[in-house]
Subunit: 221 residues, 2 copies
C-alpha cells in the first residue's frame, strides 16, 4: 500500500534551511493500523502531509499502491486525495461559515452521488462520532473536541481506503477518545481501512497494531 | 481572587437556545492551582472564557479581586484582560503573519516598557517553553505543539496574576508536557501565580492542587 524510501524533507527558512525529515524508510501494508509517536517538532506532521500528497519530499521515493507518486500529475494527485485518502488535520481546518453537516459532506461534493444521498452519508458520519445534535452548528458554535470530531467525520465520509489522522484525540476526554478509537478499530477490521495515526498518548497508540517513534526526523524505534 | 455565584450561560442558536452552563458556584483563592476536567462539550471552555472576561454570563455574578465584573466598563475589562490575566486558547489564536517572537511579545505592546526590554522579555518567555531556536518562524512554519507553546509563552510574558489555560498540553508529547507543567508549577509556587487549567489528561490534572469536574454545564465533583 505505502512504501517510503530514503524520504527527506528540507524547509527553506530565511537564509538557511531546516531538515525536518532525514532519511525515512517505511512500509505500510494494506489493512495495517500504524501509530506514529515522537516529541513535539520531531517531524510527524511533515511525514503525514507527504503520505497524504499534501506536500512533496525534497529527496526520496514514495510509492503508493504500486505507483510512484512523483509521476502523478496534479489532477491525479487531487483525485487520489479526494477519493482514496481521508485526512484528519492537527488543527481541524474546518470551513468557518459552514455547518458541521456541510463540513462533513464536503469530500462527497466531487463524487457522483445525489445531493440527498450525500447528505444522508454525512449525517451517518456525524452520528458515528456522536454529533447528531450538532449538525447545524457552525465551527464557532462547537467545542474544541466537537470540531475535532467533525474533522474525523469528514475524513471518513467518502469511505477512503487510507486514513491519515494527526492527533485525532488531542482535544477529547478519555471516554470520547475511546469511542473514537473503537470506531477506527471497527473500520480497520471490518473494512480493512489502512490507518496511519499520529498520537502522543501511549493509551491511544495501544489501539494500533504497530508503533514507530520519530526523533529529529528519523525513525528510532 | 475569583468567586462565581450561580453562573449560567445560554447560547442562542437558530430558533432555540442551549444552556451551556447551568448554575456554577466556584471559589478560587489567590495562589491556587485548579484543574477543570469533563467530557467534550461539558462547558469547560465556556466557563474559562467567562473567567477571562472574554464572554459574559447570561445570569449570575462574577466577582474578581473583590469587584463585580458586570460593573466594569469596556476599558476596565480590556485593561484587566491585558494586565492581569494570561489566556492560553484551545486553538492557540496566533497571528498568522507574525513570528513566534512577535506573537509572544504582543501583550507587552500596551505596556510602558521600552521596545528593547519588551523584546528581551518575549525572548525569555519563548526560552522558558523551549522555543529559542524558533523565534523567527511564522505559525505555518511551526509544528502544532510549537504553536501551542508560543501561545503559552504569550500568556505568561506580561507576568499575569491569573493564568487561564485551555488544554495547554493537548498537542504535546509526554516529555514536553512535563516541562511545561514544571514551568507552571514553578510559577505557581515562586510567584503565587493563580492557575485555572482545563485538561482531559489525569496525569496533567495531577499537577494541580485541586480538580473539579464538569458535566452538562454543572460541577459534579
Ligand atoms: N456559540 C455557541 N452557540 C451554540 N452552542 C455553543 C456555542 N459555543 C459552544 N456551544 C456549545 O456549548 C457546549 C459547551 O461548549 P464548550 O466549548 O464550553 O465545551 P468544552 O467542555 O470546552 O468541550 P471540549 O472538551 O470539546 O473542548 C458544547 O456542546 C457546544 O456545542
Ligand atoms: N514551513 C516550515 N518552515 C520551516 N520549518 C518548518 C516548517 N514546517 C515545520 N517546520 C519545522 O519542522 C519541524 C517538524 O515539524 P512537524 O510539524 O512535522 O512536527 P511534529 O512532530 O508534528 O510536532 P508536534 O507534535 O508539535 O505537532 C518543526 O521543528 C518545525 O519547526
Ligand atoms: Mg504535528
Ligand atoms: Mg473546550
Amino acid at each position: 500500500m505505502i512504501r517510503l524510501e530514503r524520504i527527506e524533507k528540507e524547509y527553506r527558512i530565511g537564509e538557511g534551511s531546516f531538515l525536518a525529515l532525514n532519511g525515512i524508510d517505511l512500509t505500510v501494508g494494506k489493512g495495517e493500523f500504524l501509530a506514529i509517536t515522537g516529541a513535539s517538532g520531531s517531524g510527524k506532521s511533515t511525514l503525514l502531509n507527504i503520505l497524504g500528497l499534501l506536500d512533496r519530499p525534497t529527496r526520496g521515493r514514495y510509492v503508493l499502491d504500486g505507483r510512484e507518486v512523483s509521476s502523478l500529475d496534479k489532477a491525479e494527485r487531487a483525485h487520489h486525495r479526494n477519493r482514496f485518502i481521508g485526512f484528519v488535520f492537527q488543527s481541524f481546518n474546518l470551513l468557518a461559515r459552514t455547518s458541521a453537516l456541510e463540513n462533513a459532506e464536503l469530500p462527497l461534493v466531487y463524487s457522483n452521488a445525489e445531493p440527498a444521498a450525500r447528505r444522508e452519508r454525512a449525517r451517518k458520519s456525524l452520528a458515528d462520532v456522536g454529533l447528531s445534535s450538532r449538525e447545524n452548528h457552525l465551527p464557532t458554535q462547537l467545542s474544541g473536541g466537537q470540531q475535532q470530531r467533525v474533522a474525523i467525520a469528514r475524513a471518513l465520509v467518502n469511505e477512503p481506503v487510507l486514513l491519515l489522522a494527526d492527533e485525532p484525540t488531542g482535544n477529547l476526554d478519555t471516554r470520547t477518545s475511546e469511542e473514537i478509537m473503537d470506531l477506527l478499530t471497527r473500520l480497520n477490521r471490518e473494512r480493512e481501512l489502512t490507518i496511519v495515526m499520529i498520537t502522543h498518548e501511549p493509551s491511544v497508540a495501544a489501539y494500533a497494531g504497530r508503533t514507530i517513534a520519530l526523533r529529529d526526523g528519523m525513525i528510532v524505534a
